[in-house]
């Protein structure tokens, strides 16, 4: 059954994302530990790395906030499964919640009811993008609430320019202090509209740490932003130190002449993600 194949691959991806921190993130945390000059900051990074090891060895979630199960799909227009993928993903989330287990995190805002299986109105949330081809690439992002609460959108006057964006990003990250569980990964979305800037920021956090935007000017801007936020001294968990952010990733869209939307997406140190590739023949495998 193709539905079982895809579902079980998505369950695997959810398990991998929840229990095994991607290598690029682990390496960035280790590098941060080596750089750290504050004893208190270093102790936080030690506890994080110890925790990551316990989670990986025991195949248990690295954080009790296993997040809202958020999906980004690049769907090949010629894939035969476009009509079914939503149902398969929802079934996978239900199974994964019981099997891994994941914390039931979907609450109805009006009744307060929690169905207990991480589903609900529009949940799990799926971001669709139609691309060429017949394959479907599913990225899972279990996004924690503490860091998401620190995400924001600012509609800047265009006159402040790129300097103004730098200032707004640094000020915002510093104002978050230890709340989003630094060292964080920041997704900066620029342009589009209010919703688009946030969406671009969220897509930007899916990138691997160490990757740079293909546009060299934007890549340089990412590097400058990272240096600036790390000059702040907020440090790991906000107790002071060298590394407030592991990475800043920027994505942009053209903007209205009157608008300069800035979306700031904050991801905690537990930058969890995994990817499934569904081929046109119905086979599915976890590819990262």
């Amino acid at each position: 059954m193709k539905s079982e194949t895809v579902k079980s691959a998505v369950v695997d991806a959810l398990r991998i994302a929840s229990t095994i921190l991607p290598e690029d993130v682990v390496n960035a945390l280790k590098a941060a530990r080596e750089r750290e000059t504050s004893d208190l900051g270093a102790a936080q990074l030690d506890a994080i790395l110890q925790n990551v090891g316990i989670a990986r060895e025991g195949s248990i979630p690295m954080c009790q906030d296993t997040g809202l199960q958020t999906f980004f799909i690049e769907a090949g227009a010629k894939s035969p499964f476009l009509g079914e993928i939503r149902d398969w993903i929802e079934a996978a989330v239900v199974d994964a919640t019981a099997a891994i287990p994941l914390r039931p995190n979907t609450v109805d805002p009006f009744t307060g009811a929690n169905p207990g299986n991480n589903t609900g109105r529009f949940m799990p949330f799926i971001n669709w993008e139609i691309v060429e081809g017949d394959e479907v690439r599913i990225t899972v992002l279990p996004k924690g609430g503490g860091s998401e609460n620190m995400s924001t959108v600012k509609m800047l006057p265009p006159g402040v320019g790129l300097k103004g964006i730098k200032k707004a990003v640094v000020e915002h990250i510093v104002s978050c202090q230890g709340k989003p569980c630094p060292p964080t990964v920041i997704g900066v979305g620029i342009g589009g509209g209010a919703d688009i800037a946030l969406k671009l920021g969220k897509k930007a956090i899916l990138r691997k740490i160490g990757s740079r935007h293909p546009n060299p000017d934007v890549a340089a801007y990412e590097g400058e932003l990272l240096e600036l936020v790390n000059m702040s001294g907020v440090g790991p968990m906000g107790v002071g130190g060298e590394t407030t952010c592991l990475a800043v990733h920027v994505e942009y869209a053209s903007r209205h002449p009157a608008s300069l939307p800035l979306g700031i997406l904050v991801q905690c140190w537990a930058d969890r993600r995994s990817q499934v590739l569904v081929k046109a023949d119905g086979t599915a495998e976890v590819i990262s």
Binding site: V52, I60, M62, Q64, N114, G144, V174, K179, S232, G238
Partner: protein, 199 residues
């Protein structure tokens, strides 16, 4: 200084704890997030007796992942949640129940600071997201209250813990506050950052 503490502790012992101390707790702790705080405060206002003694335990801002295994519960992951959400009622909660050690992440505000000073308690910071490490130090689940009403993350879980930490004291009963200590340094750094952006 590093301190190994067996709970319960009294006010005098709690008042000796200072910002920068690193604690490892053995004894009982209870979890309470927004909803359990409200439920317990309401019970107090209505003159009801609570089913456990919060003053003899540490208060843990945590919504754990817990799995039922036969008659008992198994803690899968139990790191701290963001404490500042409880700022709106933590001072009242401290006055009502006097837990001597509060465990959370991210720090709290002026109202809680005043509450800690008045009651004689400390706020400690536990590494955010370290849910697997925390679970390793929880020996067993003694009990759970309001599970049906509030759900798994918001219920009050009673954990028996051993060497639970490292817990960094960041707010103490003598007015010490690590976050406030950092503010002038960060403000100075922000000036250098602004100069570089403008440069």
């Amino acid at each position: 200084m590093e301190r190994r503490i067996t709970l319960p502790i009294d006010e005098a012992q709690a008042r000796e704890l200072r910002v920068g101390d690193i604690l490892y707790l053995t004894g009982k702790i209870f979890t309470a997030r927004d909803e359990a705080h409200l439920t317990m405060l309401e019970a107090k206002e209505e003159g009801k007796t609570l089913p456990f003694d919060p003053g003899a335990m540490a208060l843990f801002h945590c919504g754990p992942v817990v799995r039922q295994a036969g008659d008992s519960w198994e803690v899968i992951a139990a790191g701290p949640t963001t404490s500042v959400r409880m700022e709106i009622f933590e001072d009242k909660f401290l006055e009502a129940f006097a837990p001597r050690i509060v465990i959370g992440k991210g720090g709290m505000g002026d109202r809680t600071q005043a509450g800690l000073e008045k009651v004689g308690s400390v706020y400690t910071h536990y590494t955010g997201g370290a849910g697997a490490l925390a679970a390793e130090r929880i020996e067993q689940v003694d009990d759970v209250y309001w599970l049906d009403e509030l759900g798994m993350p918001e219920a009050a879980w009673i954990f028996a813990v051993k060497d639970f930490g490292p817990l960094l004291v960041t707010m103490d009963s003598a007015g010490g506050n690590l976050y406030k200590d950092l503010e002038p340094k960060i403000a100075e750094n922000m000036k250098a950052i602004a100069a570089r952006i403008e440069g």
